[in-house]
């Protein structure tokens, strides 16, 4: 259970983390999503006590990071962006050192369990400097698991790994998520949406969005889009569509008698039946029809882009809130449209 209030950190005149507040519950997998330089790593460094915040406070399981750092740090296992490995030790020596350092309750059986979980049993007596990047990353994860801390913070755990290793690490994180609270950071959207229960989007040092991947996908759209492939004359099709108040957005392409276009209508409605009847009446068969929901990528770009529509942004944030006030606001905003 982590509570963060008003966290701020400057590097000189640059504000890396700007009054971020959030609350994390036990047993879920959280994802920090954001562009490079957004402040994800800095937030994680602040959470684990590597850096001191300029303002705000962090409470881990009731222990304040500034006042009782030892208790707070005992509860966290951290894998930083660059795994902190001593290259001149073997894997076994290194993990034994970590056990002693954290004063962890980790006997040979528990260590064996960690080694098996991270797939390190074959390389246990090899020097860390002779391991490949993937294996070094796994040693980093193993180091975070020592002592079975209730909270795991992993900064870009799959960076630099090949696709197979990425899948394995994701599986590992999913299995860890059942017993621990996991905080993950990544800029690979698919990874976050697959693995995480809740996503926190951070950009320019601020928390710009919070919610499950589905929630974000649903509420992020101001409209529903539909791509059509219709067989027929451009004029006929467009006339038929304009009769039901639909105007194509974006370019209309004509290839081999096939018309490709995209229409949109406000969220909450469903115009697919009307399109069917209208085009059927105009004798223009619909050969392909796809509804595109706003993907996490689009949400991400919308929320972190510089030229985002302020109204749309406010709507998203309001809809993500679970208070009745926020829901009312959202409902009235939709009615106004």
């Amino acid at each position: 259970m982590i509570e963060v209030t008003n966290l701020t950190r400057h590097y000189g005149s640059f504000t890396a983390v700007d009054h971020i507040s959030f609350s994390l519950e036990d047993g879920k997998i959280y994802g920090f999503l954001g562009p490079n330089g957004a402040g994800k790593s800095t937030t994680m460094n602040l959470l684990t006590g590597y850096l001191c915040a300029d303002e705000g406070n962090i409470t881990v399981d009731g222990f304040d990071m500034l006042e009782e750092p030892k208790e707070a740090k005992k509860r966290i296992g951290y894998l930083p962006e660059l795994p902190p490995l001593y290259k001149d030790m073997t894997v076994r020596e290194y993990l034994r050192f970590v056990i002693q350092l954290k004063k962890a309750d980790c006997d040979a059986v528990a260590l064996d369990h960690i080694l098996r979980k991270t797939g390190l049993t074959d390389v246990v007596d090899k020097m860390i400097r002779s391991l490949s990047k993937g294996f070094q990353q796994r040693v980093g994860i193993a180091q975070a698991l020592v002592g079975n801390p209730p909270i795991l913070i992993l900064d870009e755990p799959t960076v630099g790994l090949d696709p197979l290793q990425r899948i394995e690490v994701r599986e590992l994180i999913r299995s860890l998520g059942k017993e621990h609270t996991v905080i993950l950071s990544s800029h690979i959207l698919s990874e976050i949406s697959e693995v995480c229960d809740t996503v926190l989007i951070i950009a320019h040092g601020k928390l710009v969005g919070e919610g499950s991947p589905e929630q974000l996908a649903q509420t992020g759209q101001a409209s529903q889009q539909c791509s059509l492939s219709v067989k027929g004359q451009q004029e006929t099709v467009l006339n038929a569509l304009s009769a039901i108040d639909l105007v194509p957005i974006g370019p209309v392409k004509q290839e081999n008698g096939l018309l490709s276009l995209t229409v949109s209508w406000p969220a909450g409605q469903d115009k697919r039946e009307e399109i069917f009847y209208a085009l059927a009446a105009a004798h223009c068969p619909i050969l392909e029809e796809t509804i595109t929901a706003m993907s996490l990528e689009q949400i991400f770009l919308e929320l972190t882009g510089e030229d985002k529509d302020a109204q749309a942004y406010e709507k998203v944030v309001a809809q993500l809130g679970e208070t009745p006030v926020a829901e009312e606001k959202a409902a009235s905003a939709q009615e106004e449209e």
């Binding site: 590097y11 590597y50 030892k70 660059l82």
Partner: protein
């Protein structure tokens, strides 16, 4: 602290550096001992120890250059700082590890009085007291090296700075006579110090105004004091400089006098530089 201590000691002895430095030290100790005591016939170990003190100028930077700078460079300091250990645990563990490496040649030196006792009468207490003082000076030089290792990521810079500072301390006697020739020189020296303090304030507060204010005030005070009594300034400078002579008190020990003041002085130096090392690490967390 124990975990860090063991790791560091093991690190010195799994890489070549521990063995090479100890071998080098023992070689020089052996040469001086043979020449001075065995061939020269002196029963007193003080001479050998005094001359081998010069080796500390090289030994300390080489031993300590890697201690904290490598942690920063490889980012393994993240492991240490995110673990439930205090900064004193980290600095203390590392310091004791280096002392252990230094203790090996000193332990060998402890066998020298026994060797000499076989050939003539001598005071064991005197010899071991001298070795104890020698160990303390070495410990102080190592503490200085540890501090400078903590202020940079680059090992060479750490080593060079430690060497420069230790060299200044070694030559401080000569420097004192050189610049204590007149009150004007003393004034100049203190003005330089005032300017340095101004720069330090600028670094800590990141703005010029308090820095310039502090420096200006300090310089005014100095000029006023100079006008009132120039000689006072000269004696103040001499006192300050003599406090920086790290190696001079050993002459007392070499001469057979157990100077308790010196012991306290060395212990203070050790504590001061360990404290400064901890502060450097603490500061880095707040102001990267």
């Amino acid at each position: 602290m124990l975990a860090i201590y063991r790791r560091e000691v093991r690190s010195y002895f799994t890489s070549a550096i521990g063995y090479i430095l100890i071998a080098f030290y023992l070689l020089l100790l052996g040469i001086y001992f043979t020449a001075y005591n065995l061939n020269g016939g002196y029963t007193d170990l003080g001479g050998v120890l005094y001359y081998t003190l010069l080796i500390m100028l090289l030994f300390s930077p080489l031993l300590t250059m890697r201690l904290l700078s490598e942690e920063r460079k490889q980012r393994t300091d993240q492991l240490l700082l995110c673990a439930p250990v205090t900064l004193w645990d980290i600095v203390g563990g590392k310091y004791l590890a280096v002392l252990t490496v230094f203790a090996v040649p000193v332990a060998v030196a402890c066998s020298c009085p026994l060797l000499l006792a076989a050939y003539g009468s001598k005071s064991m207490l005197l010899s071991y007291a001298q070795i104890f003082a020698y160990f303390l000076i070495g410990a102080a030089c190592i503490a200085i090296g540890l501090f400078f290792s903590g202020i940079t990521e680059n090992q060479i810079v750490a080593a060079a700075t430690t060497f420069a500072v230790l060299l200044c301390c070694y030559l401080m006697d000569g420097i004192t006579t050189l610049i204590s020739s007149s009150a004007w020189v003393a004034l100049l020296a203190f003005v330089l110090v005032a300017l340095l303090i101004g720069l330090l304030v600028r670094y800590m507060t990141r703005s010029w105004r308090p820095a310039i204010t502090v420096a200006a005030v300090a310089m005014c005070v100095l000029v006023i004091l100079f006008i009132i009594n120039g000689e006072w300034m000269l004696s103040a400078l001499t006192a300050v400089l003599s406090a920086l002579t790290l190696f001079a008190p050993f002459e007392d020990f070499a001469g057979g006098i157990f100077n308790v003041n010196a012991v306290v002085y060395y212990l203070s130096v050790i504590l001061l530089f360990l404290f400064l090392s901890v502060q450097t690490m603490e500061r880095r967390r707040s102001n990267v």
